[in-house]
Amino acid sequence: MALLQISDLTHYFGGLRAVHDFDLTLNQGELIGLIGPNGAGKTTVFNLITGIYRPSEGSILLDGQSIIGLQPHRIAAQGVCRTFQTIRLFSNVSVLDNVKIAFYSQIQSTLLESLLRAGRSVQEDRAFGAEAMRLLALFGVDRYAHELARNLPYGEQRRVEIVRALATKPRLLLLDEPAAGMNPGEIDHLMDLIYYIRDQFKLTIFLIEHQMRLVMRTCERIKVMDFGATIAEGCPDEVRNDQRVLKAYLGEEVEA
């Protein structure tokens, strides 16, 4: 069974059709890219999958179960996590606590135990801290653990955002423009990182990206959107040579 099965997904903002008839089947372990010009509806697709918007039509199945109408935190707890196009770290909180917050769905202790600082609550918190440090160390950002998130350089904030997403124990990771604002060297690092987390954490990855270099090299399959519609789909080479894609990106050719 496919991990994620999306069919006929359509969403309207008032009279504007932001996404229509979007289909996608994601199998375990795949790495798929979603590209398209600005305003094509890519981030809307992410917001629909993660439950931030409720789709006007269509279905989204996770492990064959519909997740439409579930609150975002429930969808996240079921293993669908994401990063954001503009970094959304908890900026006035330490890097370590940013990651520890993502363990919320794994809290075992009761409210009373938290209030009295008794029983499981202390050990549990210690375990969260240790696990967060382990993840931060894995990505080489543990030296920032006690810094406020907003004080980190941009590229490191991106890393921390990925670490934080991984702390929710996702099966499907949605990356929204992970390379935004990065220079070519940083993008190379990011590519290695994406492969690494997919293999290390047995993840399925669905990513939105404008950096063609990154998409073409890392993704096995690419979907192209324009004005809410899917205009092309296939392996990087197919997409690169697709007339509609070229038109969407470069504009209409002038007939001589």
Binding site: T50, I52, A76, R88, S91, Y104, L116
Partner: protein
């Protein structure tokens, strides 16, 4: 300048425990020799609050009051603290880590009780201080940690005050006063939390800044509602309570509140509250049940407001609906912003400072409500985070845990 520096570093070299012992010694001395010393200095009576009230009556008493403070408090405290300093490390050595806090608390309690326990006015001021600490720290949970804006804290305080008073006056046998008092307070807290739940459910259904408007409305609804219930006195108010709030009970409940709220904000659930303040959508994406967390935070906050209300009612022995009007809510807001957002220590400091400020400015009567907001605005312009915003005293929150608030330990 150099002298001031030297003095400062000298005073800082004396450990806190020595100071507490010094102050305790001063309080004992005052109990024995306070009255004679006051007479000797030409004061009409022993200064009840460092001479503030006496000097308010006539500025002529000011020099003698200052002399009294120096002779009665400053010098004995310093001398004893200095003498005790060499023994402090030895005392601390014998105490295991778990005993340290209880010993400090016991000493502080002994200090407050010795200094104020025999004096009506001091009992009143210290009890009000404790009540204000509870109010400020509980409101800070919503306004500081959660980043929402509640402006109706006094409404929940009123619910607690009325419920607790009705129980002690009309339901519980009067002879069991002190025994049933905690029960009455808890019942008041629970009813206030339920009132909070009624507010929280609709307010947090939708994203956005509706809480301020709704709490404003609820403050009025509670006040006007009670005014129209003749059975409990309506606008004439309610009385007949026994004087059950005193330094021990105010101290115990404020320490308990500080401890519980501190534990909560340091716990994983408390971190979720802070995450909501920082970015609600990101929190939700990180599996945080934001709606539940907000409701939980708000109800916890109103619960403690209710407890404070019960203590307040059994201190003043008379309550009426207009006691719990928007003015009271504003007072709590002032304490929170004065002390600093998202800081337990700040709320403690803010409440203590504010209580003393109110006493200091009492002669100004209504004009103090012109001066206090001005002082607040002036202070926030200089230090917009308040006295202790986003920071904690290390005795309240250990340094390694302070960052849970997004704050540094001080």
């Amino acid at each position: 300048m150099a002298l001031a520096q030297k003095l400062k570093s000298h005073l800082a070299s004396i450990p806190p425990l020595a100071y507490i012992l010094g102050m305790l010694a001063a309080a004992v001395t005052e109990r024995l020799a306070g009255e004679p010393l006051a007479v000797l200095l030409g004061l009409p009576s022993m200064p009840s609050l460092f001479g503030i009230t006496l000097s308010q009556r006539s500025p002529l008493f000011l020099p003698a009051s200052v002399a009294y403070d120096a002779l009665m408090y400053v010098i004995p405290t310093y001398v004893v603290a200095r003498l005790a300093t060499p023994f402090v490390p030895r005392i601390l050595e014998r105490l295991t880590a778990g005993l340290l806090m209880p010993v400090y608390l016991l000493l502080v309690f002994a200090l407050l009780q010795t200094w104020g326990g025999y004096h009506e006015y001091r009992i009143l001021v210290l009890s009000l201080m404790g009540i204000n600490v509870i109010l400020a720290v509980s409101l800070n949970l919503v306004n500081g940690y959660m980043g929402e804006f509640s402006v109706g804290h006094a409404g929940f305080m009123g619910v607690g005050a009325y419920v607790a008073s009705i129980l002690t006056v009309l339901v519980f046998p009067r002879s069991l006063g002190q025994l049933t008092f905690p029960l009455a307070l808890l019942a008041g807290g629970v009813m206030a939390a339920l009132a909070g739940l009624l507010v929280a459910i609709p307010s947090f259904k939708i994203r956005g800044d509706y809480l301020a408007i709704i709490t404003l409305a609820v403050n009025y609804i509670i006040k006007n509602g009670i005014e129209n219930i003749e059975k409990i006195g309506g606008s004439r108010g309610f009385m007949g309570m026994a004087k059950l709030t005193n330094i021990p009970s105010a101290f115990m409940w404020s320490v308990l509140t500080l401890w519980l709220i501190r534990n909560f904000v340091l716990s994983p659930r408390g971190r979720a509250v802070v995450a909501i303040r920082e970015d609600e959508i990101a929190a939700e994406t990180m599996t945080v049940d934001t709606r539940y967390t907000k409701i939980l935070g708000f109800c916890t906050s109103s619960f403690f407001a209710g407890i404070a209300g019960g203590l307040f009612a059994h201190l003043l022995l008379y309550i009426n609906p207009s006691t719990f009007s928007l003015l009271k809510s504003t007072e709590v807001l002032v304490m929170v912003y004065l002390g600093g957002m998202a800081s337990i220590s700040g709320s403690l400091l803010g409440a203590v400072t504010f209580t003393l400020l109110l006493e200091l400015l009492r002669p100004l009567e209504v004009w103090k409500w012109v001066l206090i907001p001005l002082l607040l605005v002036g202070m926030l312009l200089r230090r917009h985070a308040g006295l202790m915003g986003f920071r904690e005293f290390s005795f309240l929150v250990p340094r390694e845990e302070a960052e849970s608030h997004g704050s540094a330990s001080d």
